[in-house]
Symmetry: D2
């Protein structure tokens, strides 16, 4: 985890120039991520949970247009009022919208038109940053920062969604032959660190950007526990597979066992030849041998919990994870390799207050039925990892870069 940077880029640009630079950098990064993909690659939706790359590019643009330009009266002519219908994701307060499972039907606007839309909005936002009165810009700053962090979230989704799409193609195309994001290797053996119990403070302490769901900072009481020095590796997970872990209900939560049976799971998502001597998996670099030293990835919560049970351990709670990291008991270099499922259901912190305005729908309305993941992954953009960050997905989700770290009672 690149700790010197995560708090600054783009979390808290101070001057107009810094803000403008952060905006330009984040926006350019999205385009760079889309660059290896054809217009066709950017158009197709591979499942209802995923979105087309082009839609990510348009939606993040609409977000700035709506929550910054329109909300703060910036000078701007909308290219097409129907884009608000097409690119609204889930904001009930911002009007009706195209149904999520039908995003892949949008062959128009074309990738080129979406890029033109980006340029138009980018131009207006930069001008707004440059020229808005100080008071207006101050009021808009939170929305601008939110837009940047929002876009970074979609940068990761863009990669997870395109990986899913390409994995369905019999030609096994790579997103990038060289230089594709890949989890860092973890050759070191796994070690256990004891952590004292007691009252600890968790949640965002201020001093930089955070989503509303990271606060308020508050005290929780932990029992003593131990936590692993790094995430579980592919090699370790392979031992679970070869021990029949996918065939033995004793390790599994009931819902997980039912789903694993119904869908015929025998290994993490994207793996093939999973029990043979040479397991392979589909990655952003195409089909590759599984490296035993890589963190295991593309696990559902159910698989993570089953592995932990088989290993005689459990998942950490999100607060155990955060406290160990805050106290320096987790190697910061091991954070950010893979999203780590926790045993914590996603819910509001005591005294939780959503963002104001339309952004109130950003996080709060999803606070049921999902589990918290902590950390980050090879697909997470630089500067987007922080100790209090709460990612969340439903237990069956496997297309994210999701693995686990073990914990156990002291």
């Amino acid at each position: 985890m690149p700790s010197p940077t995560y708090a600054n880029e783009p979390s808290r640009p101070a001057t107009r120039a810094e803000l403008s630079a952060a905006f330009a950098a984040v926006r350019a990064h999205s385009c760079a991520l889309a660059a290896p993909l054809s217009a066709e690659d950017q158009c197709v939706q591979s499942m209802p949970d995923a979105s087309p790359v082009k839609w990510h590019l348009g939606h993040t643009t609409w977000f700035f247009e709506t929550l910054v330009l329109q909300a703060f009266g910036a000078e701007h002519t909308r290219l097409d009022p129907r884009y608000a219908f097409i690119f609204n994701s889930y904001y009930e307060s911002l009007g009706p919208r195209h149904p999520r499972p039908a995003r892949g039907m949008l062959t128009r606007p074309s990738a080129a038109e979406v890029m033109h839309y980006r340029e138009t909005v980018d131009h207006a936002v930069r001008r707004f940053i440059d020229t808005a009165p100080d008071a207006v810009l101050d009021r808009a700053r939170n929305a601008l920062l939110l837009g940047l962090h929002h876009e970074q979230q979609h940068q990761e989704l863009l990669l997870t969604d395109v990986l899913h799409l390409l994995s369905l193609n019999p030609l096994c195309p790579a997103y990038r032959e060289a230089g594709a994001p890949a989890p860092q290797r973890m050759p070191q053996p796994l070690a256990w660190t004891p952590v004292d119990g007691g009252v600890v403070s968790v949640g965002h302490a201020g001093g930089g950007f955070a989503f509303d769901n990271e606060g308020p900072r508050h005290d929780v009481l932990l029992q003593p526990y131990r936590i692993a020095s790094r995430p579980v590796s592919c090699g370790e997970y392979l031992a679970f597979i070869r021990d029949g872990g996918y065939r033995d209900p004793q390790w599994w939560l009931s819902d997980g066992w039912a789903l694993a049976r119904a869908e015929g799971w025998q290994a993490p998502a994207y793996w093939s030849h999973e029990e043979g001597p040479e397991p392979r998996h589909f990655t952003l670099a195409g089909e590759q041998p599984v490296d035993p030293a890589e963190p295991v990835c593309h696990l559902s919560f159910y698989e993570a919990a089953a592995y932990a049970a088989w290993a005689g351990a459990r998942l950490p709670s999100e607060f155990e994870w955060e406290a160990a990291l805050a106290r320096g008991l987790i190697d910061a270099g091991s954070v950010g390799a893979v999203w780590e499922w926790t045993r914590s259901a996603y819910g509001p912190y005591p005294g939780f207050k959503p963002f104001a305005g339309a952004a109130s729908e950003y996080n709060g309305k999803f606070m049921v039925g999902q589990m918290v993941l902590r950390g980050g992954s090879c697909a997470t953009p630089p500067g987007h990892v922080r100790p209090t960050y709460r990612n969340f997905f439903p237990p069956p989700a496997r297309w994210q870069f999701s693995g686990l770290r073990l914990a156990c009672d002291a």
Copy 2:
């Protein structure tokens, strides 16, 4: 909440005679609940989540046969070895079983045969209680008590399931014309009680029966909060309906809004004419006018959370609920009227250890995707309500006697 009794019957019978009496009482109560129903009523399964009454009667019998008689070598001849296939609910370690959604296909064994099965097992269990060596009975005591509490849980399910079944019948038949279980009226106005924050102990303290999921007792840290003096009433909920609560997404969790739209919810389950001057609902006594002073019931978690948001409040956490009750800040008489959804996802307490043996599957494997309910209902058998009891259902469930109590930050 009838506090003088809940800790003793059947939670901790001390002597052979007390054990035998508790066993006889609990077993007889199941038969009494089934008595108003015809063999046809007892046979049909109204949805995959519900079970036929007859199946409840057989399954609870199989539970004693397997976890007591067989496990402790009691003298007993099994009537039919195939009953183990038919009446196993979800115990993977106890072999294959009839699929849950097909329980309603079991026209055989007949209701009479199931009653004969009950009598055979009852006879053997009572003989075992009377004649087993002290050491054996001591070891079997936990299984016997578990069997009794398990049967009490099914007594409530029997009523919820038959209510669902009868509600689908155009003839609107009553389970019982007179004397049917009904939520107690709560004519008193709602009041708010402040509760201090701080470290409190939660979970079962020993000294009586408890399920494994109620322990270990442990400390948690609470923020100050306020809690309502009683559950939300039908009259209060009607104001939410009439204010358009079912038509306004701002109050709803995202999953809840989607489900409410998809299924056309306009009121709690079993209500009709919900916006008219005279709402009615289907109850165990047949179709009846809605009494504004009754606790509102048959809500999903989503509806409970939406109502709380509309009321400017929230659901309590399960520990806020338990602490307030333990400190005497909740009127014990208001507990047990209706199951109360909490904001707590169902998960293991720190240091959770499942029951040993087959009973290890009793609770632990369901610890994902469900929300905790506290309290009890008019369908809960006497003596089955206790402050640490953790009921749990998935957020969409509406066929239970489930309502809510409000809380808010201090």
Copy 3:
């Protein structure tokens, strides 16, 4: 095929006494068919295509009540007006009705109440037959006869539906241990009979009861063909199975192959151990060894067509079948063993006119998407088989007593 009787009982009773006797006989037969079944057996619906036995008993009663007693002003007090809602099957012109897939939820009215309903209506119908003025009875005669033939159709469905229900029970209960309907053995070798082409008349010629879909009688032009002397036997079909017939798409229609793959078909419905040395199948007499000399039964249209292709033959058209029977080129003793799928889609004859009134919905509105079966089965009541009878089911249906007879071009 008992040809001397099929045209008379109950097709054309001449006098009041004969009509009354036919009515009594048909109505009693339904009760006799239900007699071996418990109230539970009669209540459950095993799939949306099937109906509970009790519902068959009520529906056929409602049919007389509505189309005879009410239509012709007979003196009669309806037991419960809601029965019209419950027991209407599909008559849009007769008002709203209980949804078909929910017929199994009707634990009330009880089996005893349905039997009381039958007795009440029977009494009124018999009195109507005895006492109605000649002119009224004459006008009502067609409706009465339709009611009798309608009830006979439901007598067969009652058996097919209860077979399906019992087949789902792990206890493998027999409908009747002894004397259950079973297909007659056909020990004789299969022979081929050539049939000349030319213009032939098909359809009902008058002179007895027929459904509207059997007319008008009209001429069709046939090419020369050959037809088998009897239906395909289980022994012959077993050769298809053992030759890999269920694994080779070349024999199958596209829809059939897709369905067989999706549902894992490896043999006719109700067969087990299908490729072993001792195939068994579930029958009205419980699980039994497959007798090679029995007609193969419980085939979908797709399986019948696949077998015919594998055998180098085809299914006959319904007119080839009818013409061969009418000319005496089919052994009448081989008709009525099993329903025989034809290659003819179910549609209207030239000049087709539906029955008048509510009965217009009896047959015509189903004339798409179904295939014609000819003959009859062991479950068809005596007197209900005739050469022009057109049974029809969708191609995937397997729970009927459906087999095939081969034909080929001359």
Copy 4:
């Protein structure tokens, strides 16, 4: 119906030069149809029944590669052996294939690569036509012609599928602003022509290309009937809508009524504002007012049959249609405006023999569950309409250019 041309182009080119010209013309027409569409438009699959434009372009190419080049040993290097997996539609004998509902996942090969694939195969086929020994070419001639007619079928599907795709786009894009295919107007009033009954010959008589399902030519016996001079117009159909046709079950087949209710049909597919004074519909030229003089189009079989019932008429059988056309009793100019549903289920003619080899799967295996349509539409390529042509679709299909012509008994 352009009768002078339909028998010659491309049905029966005589010389190598004519063959080569026909091949070039048909292949170029496909590319011309795709030309107005972007690569994104060509990639997306809007529903399982439809295919991406790019897939149509690749599949028709694979058809020539496999059934001509490979089958007759032409010199040709396959670009990529995996294309055989990707572009095989449903030929079980030609190996495994990409699942139909996943065709839209194929962002690779790109539209440009598919075009390159076309060029490679086109080059090889033209060289084969130019240089193959006479005897080889003679043997290959049927496969070549089949490939051309097959491609013409896909030309129509390409248009129907892209219409469906564009109709789902909130931007309402036109396939072509100007010059898009559109049904010809039929301003003349509807007239009825009596047709004598008797024996008539139907089916293809030889002397040009025909699909296997058009033969053998054979005699059928018709009853006297009357047939309408042209298809039903939008104006006439609007009267059915305004008379409540979509709300009255008496006109509908049972399956049709159920589907219309379930899907909320109120007008033909692609219509909006259907009961208002100004109905509009989505067309290949974008959203347009409904022209009352156009043939009504995008009807399911169920709607066609319901309209006919409401109009006091019926659909013609396919032989009534063919005989009237052959005798000159149908205005040839009225044929080809819209596909006309008939009352005939799609099945084999007496003595039907499928094409030899892999092409045996072309038509025969679909001969159940579908209805025959006769004629052609504005999307049918020139020269692809002929009197014996049998198109077929399942009764619910609405995305084809499908309407109806009335008939009735004489």
